[in-house]
């Protein structure tokens, strides 16, 4: 029995190697042709590259485990590492930008930093390199919570942001909830968000 398991595992491993090889050879010669778009040559398409990360405030492991990177067997995730390295890299090139959302993790990390790093973060936010989008304590679901929960969640995050940085997020960023309610959109409009970005949507409803 063990022997077969071993062969299986070996085959799976080889498949992976093979896939990788194919990608590499594909990499040598791009085969794709670009479709011609209407008015393609008349104007330039402005493409905004947005580096971001989506950090679930508790999912496969607890918030603390996610933050510290403990239990890598459950999920290889370390939020403190993300913020450490990103803040480091942003300083190297003023062109680089980053978008962060979950204030629970951000405040956990920020409160651990020394004054110098805090000042660096403040400067990065001021310069617009680091943007806090939505800024809720976490991203709420839109089906289950009551109005009160959603407001409280947003209030805690915005309170932290206002006290520390004097900024107010402009954009609602609901990229992971499964379905989107009118109630939430109305609330976001009342929060003063200028726009709402979301991603999960039925294929039938997409254009």
């Amino acid at each position: 029995m063990d022997k077969y398991n071993f062969i299986d595992a070996h085959n799976r491993k080889m498949e992976k190697v093979y896939d990788h090889d194919e990608k590499v050879t594909k990499g040598r010669k791009p085969t794709k042709e670009l479709n011609r778009r209407e008015n393609q040559d008349k104007y330039t398409l402005d493409v905004h590259i947005v580096p971001h990360t989506h950090d679930d405030v508790g999912w496969l492991k607890t918030v603390e485990e996610y933050f510290t990177g403990a239990k890598p067997g459950n999920a290889r995730a370390n939020v403190a590492l993300i913020l450490d390295t990103v803040i480091n890299e942003l300083q190297k090139d003023p062109k680089r930008t980053f978008t962060y959302v979950e204030m629970k993790f951000f405040s956990m990390w920020y409160n651990e930093q020394d004054q110098k790093t805090k000042q660096i973060v403040k400067d990065l936010i001021k310069k617009g390199q680091l943007e806090i989008t939505m800024g809720g304590w976490s991203a709420t679901d839109e089906a289950c919570p009551t109005y009160e929960d959603i407001i409280l969640n947003m209030h805690m995050g915005h309170d932290f942001l206002w006290n520390e940085f004097r900024v107010k997020p402009r954009i609602g960023w609901m990229i992971d909830p499964f379905g989107h309610s009118e109630g939430n959109a109305a609330l976001f409009s009342d929060f003063g968000f200028e726009a709402l970005f979301f991603s999960r949507m039925n294929l039938d409803m997409r254009d």
């Binding site: 990499g27 979301f198 039925n202």
Partner: protein, 162 residues
């Protein structure tokens, strides 16, 4: 443009709504494994060189979705996913190379740059005469395909969810 509760509020609570492409991840060719844009290898003398391929796949993605953007000029491409940028050194090095190379090797008129949702929104606001489709309904229930509905949370054990 989403106008929730039109019956009660008309357009009073309307909010500009943007639906992201390819879930919230990077373009499809970059989402095969986590942080595929980390693996941009810019050395053309070596077999592993893939910058050209990566660049073409990015341009193809932009090209494919360009027509679904209302103004057809400004668009946003996300690079990031669940718990990405744990090694921001690699991620930014890859993105730097990709953006540089794509801007130098233009097959179509595209200009790539680092941005944030806020900057993208500002760019959208500068565009005039763009008509946004008005939506007056919610987006429930959500399903990924015919057999995978995310609707259980309405019905199961409602008492636990107060």
């Amino acid at each position: 443009m989403w106008q929730p509760f039109t019956g009660n509020f008309g357009s009073q609570k309307q909010i500009l709504t943007h639906i992201l492409h390819n879930n919230y991840g990077p373009p499809p060719d970059f989402s095969n494994e986590q942080n595929a844009w980390d693996e941009v290898i810019p050395y053309s003398n070596y077999l592993e060189y893939n910058l050209d391929y990566r660049c073409v796949s990015l341009q193809t993605f932009v090209n494919d979705i360009a027509d679904s953007v209302p103004n057809k000029r400004t668009m946003m491409v996300l690079f990031g996913d669940d718990f990405t940028f744990q090694n921001a050194f690699m991620s930014y090095r890859g993105l730097d190379k990709l953006i540089d190379y794509c801007n130098k090797n233009q097959k179509t008129n595209m200009q790539f740059k680092y941005s944030t949702p806020g900057k993208y929104l500002d760019a959208l606001k500068l565009e005039t005469g763009v008509e946004y489709k008005v939506v007056k309904h919610d987006f429930f229930p959500y399903y990924q395909d015919r057999l995978r509905f995310w609707s259980g949370f309405f019905t199961s054990r409602p008492d636990f969810k107060k």
